[in-house]
């Protein structure tokens, strides 16, 4: 079955470009230019995924509102925020409102397609039984590479796709320092240093929320981060 992706983007050139690419990758695209237009159609029939820009025409934070409304309609709907804004504040807001991933418009189309595919894979994998070779166990941590889910001491840790790949990059070689470039390469993202820092902070917080004694991620200043067991 063809996956149906809703694309809400006010810039027509970008909207058309992404639509073309999505079609080429075999998705069905529902392009919208504004929040009310998208909401009117989507609330009657939810898409398989929504890609939303934050600034939608006159609505500065229209994307956030749309993200919240869509999340209210469905817990399962994968949402990606694609924005020109790259500030920590916007990223945190987007993820807090229920977006599964946050990408900046610097992201290349192939990268965007890879992220969309990864997100679909995670959603699809929920129903299937995990295959052993796709599981990474590092002490108390278990990563399911198929579903892109993580558990710590048996408790699920809800990570975004970006965060998941960062954790994966860290635990692939326990004790090795991963610098920022390596982490960005693993997560296939283009962000600056301070965003990596805040990602790592958020990952730590998520683990600490599950286990207050969590201290497996160590900062090596000037070099990067490493996972210690």
């Amino acid at each position: 079955m063809t996956k149906r992706v809703a694309l809400v983007e006010d810039d027509s050139a970008i909207r058309d470009n992404i639509s073309d690419a999505l079609k080429k990758y075999g998705y069905e695209v529902q392009p919208f230019a504004s929040r009310p237009e998208a909401m009117a159609v989507l609330k009657t029939r939810l898409p398989d995924m929504a890609i939303i820009d934050i600034g939608l025409g006159a609505e500065m934070d229209g994307g956030f509102t749309l993200c919240r409304d869509l999340r209210a309609l469905s817990d399962q709907l994968p949402i990606i925020i694609l924005s020109a804004r790259d500030s920590d504040f916007d990223i945190v807001s987007g993820l807090r409102l229920g977006a599964d991933d946050y990408l900046t418009k610097d992201t290349s189309l192939p990268h965007l397609m890879a992220r969309i595919a990864a997100l679909f894979r995670r959603v699809d994998a929920f129903g299937e039984a995990p295959r052993n070779e796709e599981i990474v166990d590092r002490g108390e941590l278990r990563l399911d590479l198929n579903r892109l889910t993580a558990t710590w001491k048996g408790e699920p840790v809800v990570l975004t796709v970006t965060e998941f790949w960062m954790v994966h990059a860290l635990v692939k070689f326990v004790g090795h320092v991963k610098n920022r470039d390596q982490l960005m390469g693993e997560a296939e993202m283009v962000v600056d240093d301070s965003t990596i820092t805040s990602h790592m902070k958020r990952i730590r917080k998520k683990f600490i929320a599950v286990d207050p004694a969590f201290d497996a991620i160590e900062t090596v200043y000037g070099m990067g981060y490493r996972w210690i067991v």
């Binding site: 810039d11 050139a13 970008i14 470009n17 992404i18 073309d20 690419a21 080429k24 020109a84 804004r85 790259d86 500030s87 920590d88 504040f89 900046t104 418009k105 610097d106 290349s108 189309l109 192939p110 610098n179 470039d181 283009v190 600056d192 240093d193 301070s194 965003t195 820092t197 805040s198 900062t219 090596v220 200043y221 000037g222 070099m223």
Partner: protein, 556 residues
């Protein structure tokens, strides 16, 4: 000297204008005195003339026979008369043989006598035929003279103004000659009035002489003398009053002016301090200026300054947010180009076309890196706002960073010296690492090949100083203050340098050009840690040293 140049000092000098009051007053009093003296002289001359006329009407009063006495006796009498006339009013001078009073003349003189004057009549043979009155009495007409002169102010004035006018003879010998000449002139028919000092020089005596006629002959002379004591006293009193009033006015004016100047200077200083505090050494607006609500010019100046600072602050904020807004605005068109290129790559294209797509792609990637760099400072500001301060060992952070640099730039030499072991900072270690990144990136750009980059941690008072120095060209003159501002770059522009740095692959900073944000970020982080950045040429003159001062115990 400094005090005199201040507003207070200047107003003090200006208040000396008040000294004109006593000067003007003194001139007025002097004029008054001259006027009084002239009228006294005229009165005396008329009195003398009246006495002379009275005596002239009685020719029998002068005994003609006795006028033919011997010459020697007459000369002696003349001397005695002159001596008597010029003697002090207080002195006990006697006429001796020269005094040959005529009861008739004395009686007339008694009748015509004036209370404050001495009248004497001399006949042609220099015999004093009549004497009436005394100058002594004139000395204390008001009865208050003694009391007055005991006051220190009066005494000072007497000493100050003892010489009122210049035409009085002051030599005792001269005084004697003057009296003699006056009498002689009168005896030959010429009336006169002269001013002279008393011998003790305490007073001035006015004397008028008139000839006494008997038919066609001069039979004698009338001399009327008066001291000017009354006028002197009047003048003293006037001067005393003047001085007292002037002193009061002067002190009152002076105190008022000083208070006024004090307040003015205090307000100006307060305004100056506030203006100074509003803008820091780098020209950055630190805070608002509290506008004064006073209605005068200073209040207006304060309001104007406050408005200027506010406008300047708005403008600065506009400039500082410009890069962030610019980067945001540029992102969308760049995304359009990028996604178009990406789509184009999905189509089969001829190899010769693919080259251009590849180039366009590289260009867009550089552009987008530049754009993220533009917003880096704004990002950092937001990051710092939300960051939690923790206590950490900066030496550890910096040692880690240096190890990272050695790994990233194997061809370069990094020397690290930690002279502040055990010092801990309160802040964000990641930010400190970022600060060092920027300082090192800067040092790398200006470093001479084969020379080390020296990184040093040292303690200076309540600051921790992180310095990064490199050998290379010195800072341009006068650039140190603006170096840490947003969008200021002092790099020489040119393809040669860009090419040289492009060799350091992997460092976006050097490969894609500069926007002057790096050192601005250093400043933001240093300020967040209660410190400030500093740039200076090295003491040995061979390069530049950048320092970040970080407060060891941040305020609050």
């Amino acid at each position: 000297m400094k005090f005199l140049l201040s507003i207070r000092g200047k107003l003090l000098l200006v208040s000396l204008v008040l000294l004109a009051i006593p000067v003007v007053g003194y001139r007025f009093v002097t004029h008054m005195e001259v006027f009084l003296r002239e009228s006294q002289e005229q009165a005396l001359v008329s009195a003398t003339r009246a006495i002379a006329a009275t005596l002239s009407e009685r020719p029998g009063l002068f005994d003609r026979r006795e006028a033919t006495a011997d010459e020697a006796a007459e000369l002696e009498r003349r001397q005695i008369v002159a001596l008597f006339g010029s003697s002090d009013p207080e002195a006990v001078a006697t006429l001796g043989g020269a005094y040959q009073p005529s009861p008739d003349i004395e009686r007339i003189l008694e009748l015509l006598g004036r209370s404050a004057s001495r009248i004497w009549v001399v006949d042609a043979a220099s015999r004093v035929r009549g004497l009436s009155g005394s100058l002594k009495r004139a000395q204390s007409p008001a009865g208050t003279t003694d009391a007055d002169s005991s006051r220190p102010l009066s005494r000072a004035l007497v000493r100050l103004f003892r010489l009122p006018s210049g035409d009085a003879k002051d030599d005792p010998e001269q005084g004697k000659r003057a009296v003699m000449a006056q009498v002689d002139r009168a005896l030959i028919g010429s009336p006169s009035a002269i001013w002279r000092y008393t011998r003790d020089r305490q007073g001035v005596v006015l004397s008028a002489a008139q000839p006494v006629w008997s038919g066609e002959n001069i039979v004698g002379a009338v001399v009327v003398e008066e001291t000017t004591g009354a006028i002197q006293l009047l003048k003293l009193e006037a001067l005393e009053n003047l001085l007292t009033i002037t002193l009061i006015v002067f002190v009152a004016g002076f105190v008022t002016l000083i208070l006024f100047a004090w307040r003015l200077a205090a307000r100006v200083r307060k305004l100056g301090r506030a203006a100074d505090a509003a803008i820091d050494a780098q020209g950055r607006i630190r805070g608002e200026l509290e506008p004064s609500d006073a209605d005068d010019e200073l209040g207006e100046l304060s309001r104007n300054l406050a408005a200027t600072v506010r406008r300047l602050k708005d403008y600065n904020q506009h400039l500082e947010s410009l890069s962030a807004r610019l980067s945001h605005e540029l992102r969308t068109p760049v995304a359009v180009v990028r996604s178009s290129l990406d789509n184009l790559k999905l189509h089969p294209v001829a190899p010769e076309t693919a080259v251009y797509i590849e180039r366009a792609d590289t260009g867009v990637k550089r552009l987008s890196t530049l754009i993220s760099r533009l917003s880096e400072a704004t990002q950092l500001e937001r990051f710092l706002q939300g960051a939690e301060r923790e206590t950490f060992d900066p030496g550890e952070v910096i040692a880690g960073c240096v190890a990272g640099y050695r790994a990233t730039f194997p061809s370069r030499i990094f020397a690290f010296e930690n002279a502040a072991e055990g010092v801990t900072l309160q802040g964000v270690p990641d930010a400190i690492a970022q600060l060092l990144d920027k300082l090192v990136a800067n040092a790398i750009d200006f470093q001479l090949p084969e020379t080390p980059i020296d990184i040093r941690l040292a303690r200076a008072g309540r600051y921790l100083v992180l310095s990064v120095s490199n050998q290379g060209p010195p800072l341009p003159e006068g650039s140190a203050a603006t170096l840490f501002s947003s969008m200021v770059s002092l790099r020489p522009q040119g393809p040669a340098r860009v090419g040289e740095h492009a060799a350091d692959a992997g460092q976006g900073d050097t490969a894609v050009g500069h926007l002057g944000m790096g050192l601005y970020i250093v400043r933001l982080i240093a300020e967040f840690h209660g410190g400030f950045p500093e740039a200076a040429n090295r003491a040995d003159g061979r390069g530049v040293e950048m320092r970040a001062w970080l407060a060891i115990t941040p305020a609050g």
